[in-house]
């Protein structure tokens, strides 16, 4: 083991793995990722807008206005509801598909490819397809001979848009669950079978616990991804009806479009803080569950 001693010295280490190799990547990260994030903490407290050239500090005025007009609380609530719904629906459907298509038959292989197609499509395109499918005189109501306002309910439309987004991504969850199922050793399943465990018991007691890494990955990416949710909602409801599907990014997009840059920045900062606060416990919890089980 000579390698570690060679690596340890900063001078020697620098020679073998030159520090300047880090420079381009960190320069890009600094300028185009961290600097704008830092700006968030500054410009959220200004009156930056499209309507005048000067930018002056205004303290907490932006926070007060998004709090008092209710948009902060409502966007935040909708974003969290949407993210949790997507995490449940997307992974529920993905796991269901993975279990259904687990065996390597020709039909199953074909079905896996087809279920993956929506993953490749633009979320905006998927949103337009579902708008055409779900609008009041759209294809689904015509097919079922009903007139359900799939995209017009102030209570349930958030579920519909969460479903549309989950439909788009369930193929990805499926292939990750399939890969996870493949890592379960055959002899463990054999042992469960010999112990007289049925299909359901084998699933709940053996297979699902062993899927922990795949569940961690899928739930974390679904949650964090849908905190940034935008495209499918824009193309299906645009935030409506009555702003009941207006997640943070839709709000930022609209307010920015109206020229109120500082208010958009304020919401962007809120999104940043919420994700920072929520991400670490969520990932920590899922990791811990993994460790306990393994």
């Amino acid at each position: 083991m000579t390698a570690p001693s060679v690596r340890r010295g900063p001078l020697l280490g620098g020679g073998l793995y030159p520090t300047w190799f880090l420079a381009p990547a960190f320069a890009i990260l600094m300028v185009f990722f961290f600097l704008p994030t830092l700006f968030n903490f500054i410009y959220a407290f200004t009156n930056w807008s499209a309507f005048h050239d000067d930018i002056a500090g205004v303290g907490f005025a932006n926070f007060e206005s998004v709090l008092s007009n209710g948009s902060l609380v409502s966007s935040l609530r909708i974003t969290i509801v949407y993210a949790v719904l997507v995490a449940i629906l997307q992974n529920g459907m993905g796991l269901g598909l993975a279990l259904l298509l687990e065996r390597d038959t020709r039909l199953n292989r074909f079905a896996r490819v087809v279920f993956f197609v929506p993953v490749l499509m633009s979320a905006l395109a998927v949103g337009y397809i579902f708008q055409a499918l779900l609008k009041p005189d759209g294809a689904l109501n015509g097919l079922l001979h009903v007139s359900v306002p799939w995209l017009g309910s102030t209570t349930w439309t958030v579920v519909t848009v969460a479903f549309v987004n989950s439909w788009k991504w369930m193929g990805l969850a499926m292939v990750i669950f399939l890969a996870g199922l493949k890592t379960i050793p055959e002899d463990v399943l054999e042992a469960a079978r010999l112990d007289g465990a049925g299909v359901w018991k084998t699933f709940t007691q053996v297979r699902f616990p062993l899927l922990a890494p795949a569940v961690t990955f899928n739930v974390a990416t679904a949650l964090l991804g849908s905190f940034n949710g935008f495209d499918t909602i824009l193309a299906t409801t645009g935030g409506g009806p009555a702003q009941t599907t207006e997640v943070l990014n839709i709000y930022i997009f609209k307010v920015y479009g109206n020229g109120l840059f500082a208010q958009a920045t304020t919401m962007s900062l809120v999104l940043f803080l919420i994700v920072t606060i929520l991400a670490f416990p969520v990932i920590g919890y899922l990791r811990k569950r993994e460790r306990v089980l393994s």
Partner: protein
């Protein structure tokens, strides 16, 4: 055993086919068949065949009036350099982050991968780009994408490099190779699988992105396919012209679906590689 034969031979295939038809078939069929209809007929979208076929008309209109070639050019112009740049600079940094030890390096590594979780500050990016004179330019867009996906690349590649035995590098070092030479000749070729994974994911994100490109490219002359889809779908020209919107959607989705059809096994194993370990 009778039950399980019934399940594998009859029930299971029936369920799979029914799911395929309803869950995927209906939405995709709706898009495809509506793109063949006349404007009037497409107004109330349904699953029936068109009474008169407008295939050539619709696709030609979507292609020409929708400025599709220009948007395709914009998409490629932004995506290819961004992906190349983020992979080259990211793997160069990952090698150092994976091999050097110490507190400073682990802090740098944590900072480098924090972007996997933290959302980009999309509004103030615009302000920064204006100050740099890069607002609404494709170069600004490339830089923003590189900043956004650098974390993912560093995370994937650093993890992969840690599994490569040091002996391979040492042998090259004995032969008198310089660090850059070792990186290019020894490490880079070994990174092929993980670079494939990162390339697929990042191409997928950039190709389909509309949120960040709206902020960065908005107001400029260069556009991308999804951004252009949004602007044509919300312009008066296309209002309720579902036939043209879907002709555009089909044309735009085809490249990735064709690539996927040819390389699906590698793409899927590439994507799942890092997730379940």
């Amino acid at each position: 055993m009778k039950g399980s034969v019934l399940w594998t031979r009859v029930l299971h295939p029936v369920i799979v086919v029914v799911l395929l038809v309803t869950a995927i078939g209906i939405p995709l069929w709706l898009a495809l068949i509506t793109s063949f209809k006349s404007q009037g007929e497409a107004n109330i979208p349904d699953l029936t065949l068109p009474s008169s076929w407008h295939v050539w008309d619709n696709y030609r209109q979507a292609f020409t009036q929708g400025d599709m070639l220009w948007a395709l050019f914009g998409s490629l112009l932004v995506m290819i350099p961004a992906v190349l740049g983020v992979l080259i600079f990211g793997s160069l940094a990952s090698w150092v982050l994976a091999r050097r030890t110490g507190k400073m390096v682990s802090i740098l590594y944590s900072a480098a991968i924090s972007g996997i979780i933290l959302p980009p500050a999309v509004v103030t990016i615009v302000l920064l780009l204006r100050q740099l004179g890069l607002a609404s330019t494709p170069f600004g867009m490339m830089c923003v994408y590189m900043g956004m996906y650098m974390s993912l690349v560093v995370f994937f590649i650093t993890g992969f490099i840690r599994t490569i035995p040091l002996e391979l590098e040492e042998a090259a070092r004995m032969d008198g190779a310089k660090p850059l030479g070792i990186f290019l000749k020894v490490i880079l070729p070994l990174l092929r699988p993980v670079i494939a994974t990162a390339t697929i994911l990042i191409c997928l994100y950039i190709w389909n992105d509309v949120f960040y490109s709206f902020f960065v490219l908005g107001g400029g002359s260069v556009t991308t396919l999804p951004l252009n889809l949004y602007s044509v779908a919300s312009s008066n020209l296309y209002q309720n012209n579902w036939n043209l919107v879907f002709a555009y959607v089909i044309l735009m989705s085809l490249p990735l679906i064709v690539i996927f059809a040819f390389a699906q096994r590698r793409i899927i194993s590439g994507i799942t590689g890092g997730a379940v370990k």
